[in-house]
């Protein structure tokens, strides 16, 4: 799937200009935009949208003001007055929301319900403040998030979903920080997931949900392994590489779907996972990182390796239908980590060899990205490949592996790989051009 799909609003604006200038007809514009899951109407700068954004921000600011106002702790005002005042604000805001919802004025309804949702959270905090509740305070955040969650289903509002997601994240972090496991976090992700996959489009909420799932799974595994503390051990690293491959496979599957918003989500997560994979390879390209792993006890090494094997295989299965651009880099990373960690578990001295190998894997990734960028006419991948190779050259020039001679040898081998790829590519290109020329000549002689 092409990156242009992430620029639907801009594409729609361009098409409207072409129609206005008489370059293409309205029907043609709609047909073109339909290819990208867009329409002439999408992204039309309307006054109501700007009004909605500003009003939403105003509600958010008013909510923050309410939190700070309550934080001042007005001891001189009687408890009952403070409590009934805030309760009245919460009920009134929700009541207005209900009223406007009945009137089919969704925008006003959502804004009032959003304010009611913030006011409800402030009420929880106010009771905790008045009665000095020193108990496990994340419970307050949890009940706040849970108390507004059904509004996401009722209103289909991305704004309220953002508030729920933010609260769920805060709850997950403070709960984990206090050594408790946030077991119910997936409930929030499931509801937000339902909204963004089947009702409304939001790449930001999709990314947040994806990151949330990854963090929650990490916390869960950490709980299984250690019970108390989160630590990025070898097992966790293998588990995350496996998850990355699985999610990348899912991203390719989403990109091949017929549903426009799923295609967009697939592309968004694929891009971020690709960046994460390159960053991770860079981390492993340093001499002392793999050596560090030698000192970490392999607590559940073979179960982590089995997970990497199965999740990688599943990811590849999902990505296979999308062609070699999809499965080739995935296979490379999958096999590389399977082999390197298997050998490392037997011979701890082999860490240096794998560090060198990681550098060559990065060179290969760079080449594959440049190749993909040119063959698919996608400048983003092309530059990502170029930047990967340049950063690698920069890092390895200063952070030498095996002294000056080792560094020189590394650069020489990398240069040979690049040279070989360039020659091979030129050959393939020439063969393609010759093939195209003979087809053209054949067509002309037939005419």
């Amino acid at each position: 799937m092409r990156l242009i799909n992430l620029l639907k609003r801009e594409l729609s604006k361009e098409a409207r200009d072409w129609v206005q200038d008489g370059i293409i007809s309205k029907q043609q514009a709609d047909l073109i935009l339909h290819r990208y899951g867009s329409s002439l109407e999408q992204g039309k700068a309307t006054g109501s949208f700007g009004y909605y954004v500003l009003m939403s921000l105003a509600v958010l600011f008013a909510g923050l003001s309410l939190i700070l106002l309550v934080s001042e702790n007005w001891n001189e005002i009687p408890r009952w007055l403070r409590m009934s005042g805030l309760l009245l604000v919460t009920l009134s805001a929700n009541g207005f929301g209900l009223f406007y919802f009945r009137q089919d004025n969704r925008m006003a309804a959502v804004l009032w319900l959003l304010f009611g949702s913030i006011s409800y959270g402030v009420s929880i905090m106010l009771i905790a403040q008045i009665y000095h509740l020193g108990e496990h305070f994340p419970d307050g955040i949890y009940w706040w998030a849970l108390g507004i969650l059904p509004l996401v289903v009722a209103t289909h509002s991305r704004l309220i979903a953002f508030l729920v997601t933010a609260l769920a994240f805060i709850w997950m972090f403070v709960e984990a920080e206090m050594q408790f496991f946030p077991l119910s976090f997936p409930i929030f992700i499931l509801v937000v997931g339902w909204l963004i996959f089947w009702q409304k489009t939001s790449s930001l909420l999709y990314l947040a949900a994806l990151v949330g799932v990854l963090i929650w799974l990490n916390l869960a595994l950490s709980r299984i392994i250690d019970e108390r503390f989160y630590d990025m051990t070898t097992d966790m690293a293998l588990f995350n590489i496996g998850l990355g491959l699985l999610f990348n496979g899912l991203s390719w599957w989403l990109m091949s779907s017929d549903v426009s918003r799923w295609k967009t989500y697939g592309l968004v997560s694929h891009l971020w996972l690709l960046r994460a994979a390159i960053v991770m390879l860079f981390i492993f390209s340093f001499d002392d990182v793999l050596s560090e792993f030698q000192y970490v006890a392999y607590q559940s090494f073979w179960s982590s390796m089995s997970f990497l094997f199965v999740s990688g295989l599943a990811g590849l299965g999902l990505a296979y239908g999308s062609g070699k651009h999809a499965y080739l880099p995935m296979t490379l990373i999958w096999l590389y980590f399977l082999v390197s960690f298997s050998v490392l578990s037997i011979s701890l001295e082999s860490a240096t060899y794998f560090t060198i190998m990681t550098n060559f894997v990065l060179v290969t990734m760079g080449i594959l990205l440049i190749r993909r960028g040119i063959s698919q006419v996608e400048s983003h991948y092309f530059y990502m490949g170029v930047v990967t190779l340049l950063i690698l050259a920069f890092i390895r020039y200063f952070d030498l592996i095996g002294g000056y001679l080792g560094g020189a040898a590394l650069f020489l081998v990398a240069a040979s790989i690049l040279l070989g790829s360039a020659k091979y590519w030129k050959k393939v290109q020439e063969e393609d051009d010759t093939g195209a020329l003979s087809v053209n000549q054949g067509e002309q002689s037939n005419e």
Binding site: I67, V70, S71, E72, N73, W74, N75, M83, L87, T90, L91, N94, G95, G97, L98, F101, R102, L113, Y120, G121, V122, S123, I124, M125, I127, A128, Q129, I130, Y131, H132, L133, G134, E135, H136, F137, G140, I141, W143, G147, I148, P150, L151, V153, A154, T155, H156, W194, F197, W198, Q199, S257, D258, V259
Partner: protein
């Protein structure tokens, strides 16, 4: 479109307005219920509980949502195992009941266990950390919310200790109510 996609797309069916309205009404009832339960849980020990006096040292931090408070480090937050529970061990996170007895107007710990005592005064807590020699326990009374200036004043005025009035319900649930005195202002001498 694949069969899987087809079946997944059944979830895209829009929700009826009637159901949405029902959900919003449900949310209002749910929010009200949460607030009522929280309120009743907060006032129950104050309405029906017994007041006791406990010694503590206040420190002043800020909560992101609730404003300034003094963190109360009660003497009963740290319990020496050998003294009160020589043979048994409590797991971290488990519920614990601390038996209390009045001595010169201040309630002191006299026993610790995982079972609710049948008689006497006791407070319900949770084991935060467990060590060989002692337990660190929490009772839900460790925060006392005050305006910022008052919180800072209480912290600076307290050089050694202060005393707080705490209400304890029959189940052992406790609520801190008010600060009684600090240092020399406390007429009852410390233990």
């Amino acid at each position: 479109m694949s069969k899987l996609e087809d079946s997944l797309m059944t979830l895209a069916k829009p929700i009826s307005k009637k159901l949405s309205l029902g959900l919003i009404v449900g949310v209002i009832i749910l929010q009200l219920s949460v607030l009522v339960v929280e309120y009743l849980g907060s006032v129950w020990p104050i309405w029906f509980g017994k007041p006791v006096i406990l010694e503590t040292q206040p420190i002043d931090p800020r909560s992101l949502f609730r404003g300034n408070y003094v963190r109360l480090n009660f003497a009963i937050n740290r319990i020496e195992q050998a003294e009160l529970m020589p043979d048994k061990t409590l797991k971290e996170g488990s519920v614990a009941y601390l038996q209390l007895k009045e001595e010169h107007g201040v309630w002191q710990p006299v026993g610790l266990g995982s079972k609710k005592p049948d008689t006497g005064d006791f407070i319900k807590g949770r084991v935060k950390e467990s060590y060989d020699e002692y337990y660190l326990l929490e009772y839900g009374i460790e925060a006392f919310f005050m305006p910022k200036k008052a919180a800072l004043r209480l912290e600076s005025e307290t050089r050694r200790y202060s005393r707080f009035q705490v209400y304890i319900s029959k189940s052992g649930k406790a609520r801190v109510n008010s600060v009684l005195c600090t240092d020399e202002a406390c007429t009852i001498p410390p233990k």
